[in-house]
């Protein structure tokens, strides 16, 4: 690529990426790691949908399995990861938006507020919907 020719004799170091080298890289990896938990939760829901297609008994059995202590533990871990992702992604959101006069911290706080409002609305919907 390009018209500039590389220097003929150079040493090319083998440099595996050290993801733990700096606080920024570690923060990035933690943020990315949360997506694994979200995929796991999506699979749990998809599995429930598949059980629903098999009839009411299968669906109820799946619902009952969610009360297992291991399932509760898993959901707690997923919840914490989702919370961490919400916090960390809105922290980096300002740089994904065009330059503006709005302070980055205000953008982040607006994101957190929106997430909180939506969470409360969804929770209210579930409670009012009479989910058992």
């Amino acid at each position: 690529m390009g018209r500039h020719q590389a220097v003929a004799k150079t040493y090319r170091r083998v440099q595996p990426v050290d993801w733990g080298r700096s606080v920024h890289r570690r923060r990035y990896m933690r943020r990315e790691l949360t997506s694994v938990f979200l995929i796991a939760y999506a699979l749990v829901l998809l599995f429930g949908l598949w059980r629903l297609s098999q009839g009411e008994a299968a669906f109820e059995a799946w619902r009952a399995s969610l009360s297992h202590p291991l399932a509760l533990l898993g959901h707690a871990a997923i919840f914490i990861a989702a919370l961490y992702q919400t916090i960390s992604w809105f922290q980096v959101m300002p740089r994904t938006l065009p330059d503006s006069q709005v302070k980055p911290a205000s953008i982040t706080r607006a994101g957190w507020a929106a997430a909180a409002v939506v969470s409360v609305l969804v929770l209210a919907l579930v409670m009012l919907g009479g989910g058992k």
Partner: protein
């Protein structure tokens, strides 16, 4: 006052590589006397002047504006003139050529790959109709200048390329500085080169090569914030894909 009378010393460990004699780099240690006001660059200059004249490194301005003396200092990309020996006490200070670049000799890297990437983003004003000096001044308001001024501060020091893990994984990724400079021209009210640069921006090695680690902006000595330049253009690139032009792109710099 007694603190200044007896100069302290610090050990500097420098990466050495001589292409004519060495198969691979090695490390060499030097005991360097220093004062509190001495930069790492001055430490290297002391070595070259008094201990080992063969140590090779680039430098010029000594005040963080030429971008020549970028190197890995204790695993962090920094300008050697912008880091002070006193901050590394009790030492040692481990100095290496910038990560993610081939080494020509000692601390000197081959910048060729960056020069090609830089040229590919067409980092110059592309006006709607060609202009000549006879056309006179091409004025803009302070507000228009503010849209790109921060990105114009790039000094091509390449610290961001050494910091970027994606450059390490995908050497063809255009990288932080080149994409920040692309945005600098796209955001300029006197420029109409968006379309000419779009192919480069939209490519997998363009803005989409970035996974937003954000370390480029952390190490930048001029606060250019390449991560912001790149990631705001992902939205532009997506809109461009759907034929929506550049709704979010900087105003007046468009097609």
């Amino acid at each position: 006052m007694t603190a200044q009378t007896s100069p302290r010393t610090i050990r500097i460990e420098a990466m050495r590589y001589n292409p004519e004699t060495d198969k691979e780099p090695s490390w060499k240690s030097y005991e360097v006397p220093f004062r509190d006001d001495m930069s790492v660059l001055q430490g290297l200059q002391y070595i070259k002047d008094h201990l080992d004249g063969s140590l090779t490194f680039r430098w010029s301005c000594r005040m963080a504006i030429c971008g020549s003396c970028g190197m890995m200092i204790n695993d962090t990309p920094q300008l050697a003139c912008h880091a002070f020996l006193r901050d590394y006490m009790p030492g040692p200070v481990r100095i290496e050529a910038l990560d993610n670049f081939p080494v020509i000799r000692d601390l000197v890297i081959d910048q060729t790959s960056f020069l090609n990437k830089l040229e590919a983003v067409k980092p110059w004003l592309i006006p709607k109709t060609p202009r000549t000096p006879a056309d006179g001044p091409n004025p803009q308001t302070p507000a228009q200048m503010q849209k790109y001024q921060a990105y114009a501060q790039c000094i091509n020091c390449l610290l961001c390329y050494a910091a970027c893990p994606q450059i390490g994984l995908k050497p063809d990724f255009a990288g932080p500085a080149a994409l920040a400079l692309m945005h600098r021209y796209n955001a300029d009210s006197r420029d109409q080169g968006w379309a000419a640069r779009a192919e480069m921006a939209n490519a997998e090695d363009g803005v989409w090569g970035c996974t937003y680690v954000g370390e480029c902006s952390e190490v930048c000595p001029k606060a250019v914030d390449p991560a912001h330049a790149i990631n705001q253009n992902k939205a532009n690139s997506a809109l461009d894909y759907f034929g929506l032009g550049k709704m979010l792109a900087p105003s007046e710099g468009g097609k």
